[in-house]
Amino acid sequence: MQRTGTRYPAREEQVPDMSRADYGHDRWIGGQRPENRVAVEERPRQAGLPAEFTVAVIVERDDNGEFLIRELQRQRVAVRHIWPKPAQIPLQYDAIFCLLSDDLPQRIPWVPGEPSSALILVDDGKAPLNLKLVHNCAAHGMLHYPATARMIQSVLMMAREHFQYERRLRGRIDKLDENLRTMRLVERAKALLIRLKNLSEEEAYNFLRKQAMEKRVTIGAVAAAVIDSHELLS
């Protein structure tokens, strides 16, 4: 995979310093230093990342912060640094690294259980570890300073996977609920066909399936139509 589609090299020059109320430095970070570019050439892009994987980094730009940003750039994701911490964490990123602070849960715009981004907490180690706070953030990963390149790489990967896995599970539950209802419809439509058209169960089912294939709709939709039309005619 080459560098196609990534936001690197950066847009430092194109995007002027934005000074919105709650965004201090809110800009795409570029590797302005040549050694960064060299490093990038050496590393493969993190496996499985989509072409435009965007990461917000909401930490102070101290040595640890610089290191984090630089390492993320080496993974060749589009990094945006935001500081000071905004009142509300922005929604449009695939992943967010955010410095852990007591008021972080209040600054997360989604309700726990319905996250819009993979959230990775950054612990600078200055305050005592507060596990209740960590729980309340309902995050997908945690990074402790001083971080190593390996830690950053793996926490991003695991948080992303955890986030997507959660989303797939939620989708599966929705689908299951839907299927449960569809099955009830199909059962009832089948019973109607057996009774009215004098079909066997197998024939009734095949009838529904054939109709669905011909009309290119779901079997649930055909079943609902059968039940509705029976209602109309009777």
């Binding site: 726990p112 259980g113 009832r188």
Partner: protein, 383 residues
């Protein structure tokens, strides 16, 4: 956190969250659920609390705004450090709280009838599901009034889902649905007049209503004003309680039917003392209702469970409440361990001139919860 700890010496209160709307269009009924919750907590605290510690409710008013329920649930769990929440009337509000309690592992006690087809490890459901009200109601209506049904409801999850169940019941038993209309939750008086005209033209035998909140009053009043007769075409409902009857006027409500697990008129000793206690506190003309009663008994079930666990840990509470029984005002109820739903009674009442319901049908005991309608009969005879 962790194991049962009976040696813990503290008189610190047990903090719990309470989420019912005191304002907005859902306040008619949710206010009574709030009262039921608080009156139960006060009774328990008057007896000395649970294991020597009082229960301390943290109450927020979501103002009938669906989004606020999720936000306040988050606030309760994150900022107030609460894990047990009593609350919610509408299914939409429950669904807003659901992701929060599921992700942070809280426990929502939900004291309202709903459409079924849900099973969350982080909710205890103490209101009726369709097999505990719709099935019997449908049977009674078809035998007494006829088989042409008109469905009217508020436009949100519960009415559409419970009508889906009702339609199935009606059709499976040779009935027809001659019309189906939904009005927005905030619908005002003027929107109900054309609706009732339309119903009149369709000539149903029964109007099945899942209109909730303030607009319940408007539906029954429009019906009354247009001169329909409850003796021939009654409104049958799962949601119209004594609270709504009082709001619409006793003469307006008279003769209409509701299926519920509880009516104020239930004659048990437990209910008599419950009603008199309630009226002493809130006024002699304040009626009780099914949602108030469920709110009341679920707090008692919670307290009894807490006594055993001596911990607010969700997993412990949930484990211990399964199968727990309680002598509620409606009769003996228990939490069904298969579903985490309450086994409650089935009753059908007809509203009288005093704003009360005369009970015309009553199950012999509590009816097992079957939220996915797996075990209910294909036709009404089997149930």
């Amino acid at each position: 956190m962790g194991a049962l700890n009976r040696n813990q010496r503290t008189s610190a209160p047990w903090r719990v969250g309470v989420l019912f709307s005191k304002t907005g269009f859902m306040s008619v009924i949710e206010e009574t659920q709030l009262r039921g919750t608080l009156i139960a907590i006060d009774e328990i605290n008057d007896r000395g609390g649970v294991n020597g510690r009082p229960i301390e409710p943290i109450v927020y008013d979501p103002g009938s705004e669906i989004r606020s329920y999720g936000q306040y649930a988050k606030r309760l769990m994150v900022e107030d450090g609460v894990s047990t929440i009593f609350g919610c009337y509408t299914s939409s509000s429950r669904k807003a709280v659901l992701p929060v309690v599921e992700r942070l592992d809280g426990l929502l006690w939900y004291p309202t009838l709903y459409e079924g087809f849900e099973f969350s490890p982080n909710v205890i459901y103490t209101g009726a599901t369709p097999n505990q009200n719709s099935v019997q109601l449908c049977k009674a209506l078809m035998s007494q009034f006829g088989n042409r049904f008109f469905f009217v409801g508020s436009d949100y999850v519960y009415p559409r889902e419970s009508n889906r169940v009702m339609r199935e019941l009606v059709r499976n038993n040779g009935g027809t649905v001659v019309g189906e209309r939904y009005l927005r939750l905030e619908a005002d008086r003027s929107e109900f007049v054309p609706l009732v005209r339309e119903i009149k033209e369709a000539q149903p035998d029964v109007i099945f209503s899942t209109v909730v909140g303030e607009s319940t009053t408007f539906l029954y009043q429009a019906y009354h004003d247009l001169g329909l007769n409850p003796k021939t075409v009654p409104i049958a409902s799962l949601t119209t309680t004594e609270a709504e009857i009082r709001a619409m006027g006793y003469d307006v409500g008279e003769g209409h039917y509701t299926a519920a697990s509880y009516f104020q008129g239930v004659e048990t000793a437990r209910n008599n003392s419950f009603v008199s206690h309630y009226q002493k506190r809130y006024g002699g003309d304040e009626p009780t209702n099914m949602c108030l009663e469920a709110s009341y008994f679920q707090v008692n079930l919670f307290a009894r469970t807490l006594e055993e666990t001596n911990s607010l840990d969700t997993r412990q509470l949930r484990t211990f409440v399964m199968g727990a029984e309680f002598e509620a005002p409606q009769g003996s109820v228990s939490i069904n361990p298969v579903w985490g739903h309450a086994d409650v009674w089935t009753r059908i009442g007809r509203a009288n001139r005093q704003g009360q319901f005369d009970i015309v049908f009553e199950s012999q005991a509590s009816v097992k919860a079957d939220p996915y309608l797996i075990g209910y009969g294909r036709c009404l005879e089997n149930c």
